[in-house]
Symmetry: C2
Subunit: 195 residues, 2 copies
């Protein structure tokens, strides 16, 4: 029999915590093998550390992200479409959460704001598919997690298959972002021949 190179209890529990954090899908059995201890020891460890069982962890991951992904790019539009006049203007609402922010400062990462603006700009274009060509954007004020972002998009000019859209985002009627998008409609597939 090979020597079991076991580590101390505290070290194991620390490693356990990290491992489960980085991979919530790991079973007690796999953990037992990894740390060269019995499955019972792992269960005692989890009990002491207050870490729930695999199925509970998986469920939590599923439930947490079920919501988030919907407002975070899994869909065609980031945020919730409130109003839309195709080819003219549109309004969308995005409720920011701490998962969108830097943990230290609670300030929402810029690309979430950008994503809301860009996807609204694209939604407002009256064409099958559009692709962002150029954009000039400006963040005017930091956004804190919990803020409700109201984005307003307006089509200001259409030239050929280029669409110029201005997007403004407000929090409580204070402007936090503005951006000018030039979107190009693709005529890859059928039905987007000319605008």
């Amino acid at each position: 029999m090979a020597l079991q190179k076991r580590i101390s209890k505290v070290d194991r529990q620390e490693g356990l915590r990290d491992l489960i954090k980085s991979d919530p899908f790991v079973t007690d059995e796999e953990l037992a093998e990894k740390f060269h201890v019995s499955i019972q020891t792992i269960r005692l460890d989890r009990l002491e550390l207050g870490i729930p069982e695999l199925r509970e962890r998986v469920k939590q991951v599923a439930e947490n992200n079920y919501q988030k992904v919907r407002s975070l790019g899994g869909n065609e539009i980031v945020g919730e479409l409130i109003d839309l006049k195709l080819g003219e203007r549109g309004i969308s609402l995005l409720e920011t959460t701490s998962s969108m922010a830097f943990s230290k400062t609670n300030i929402v990462r810029g690309h979430h704001i950008f994503s809301q603006a860009e996807s609204l700009a694209m939604a407002v274009i009256d064409a099958e598919v559009a692709l962002t060509g150029v954009s000039n954007i400006k963040y005017l004020s930091p956004v804190t997690a919990g803020d409700k972002l109201v984005a307003k998009a307006e089509v200001v000019r259409v030239r050929g298959n280029s669409h110029f859209v201005h997007v403004k985002i407000n929090v409580n009627s204070m402007q936090v972002f503005r951006g000018k998008f030039i979107l190009v409609a693709l005529k890859d597939k059928k039905g987007v021949e000319e605008i």
Copy 2:
């Protein structure tokens, strides 16, 4: 005994499919109650419809979203940091997937590209926390799902707490994006000085 207002098999199976789709966390037992049939009937239905059991469904939801959130803002940096010289330059790699693209065209949504660029720009700044102030960006060519995006960031100028960073993104040495970011380092907690 009260009359059981049962619906036809096809209708039930249709309802079943919809219900599970809208709530993947529902058990066979709950479904049986909802449709006034036995648990075995529900299981036969799932078998016929090819719908996996609760735990499998929850696991799939968890796994799907675990990936997405990681590559879409759950982390501090979007993509994988390959190289970093703090305050000077940095390189990151992002492997695009179909979940980042429009289902119709398979073209990656712009904000994913932007997110990679912005987060790399912020990572490269030698400061505790930075906030995107202004950015001027341009998408040069559409990116298809599966493409590997290599982003290169370079700090070109530092004035006060304003950092000017250029980011270029290539796919197979073909440039698909460029952007100029002005990032403002925050002083401790408060104070976003004028740019």
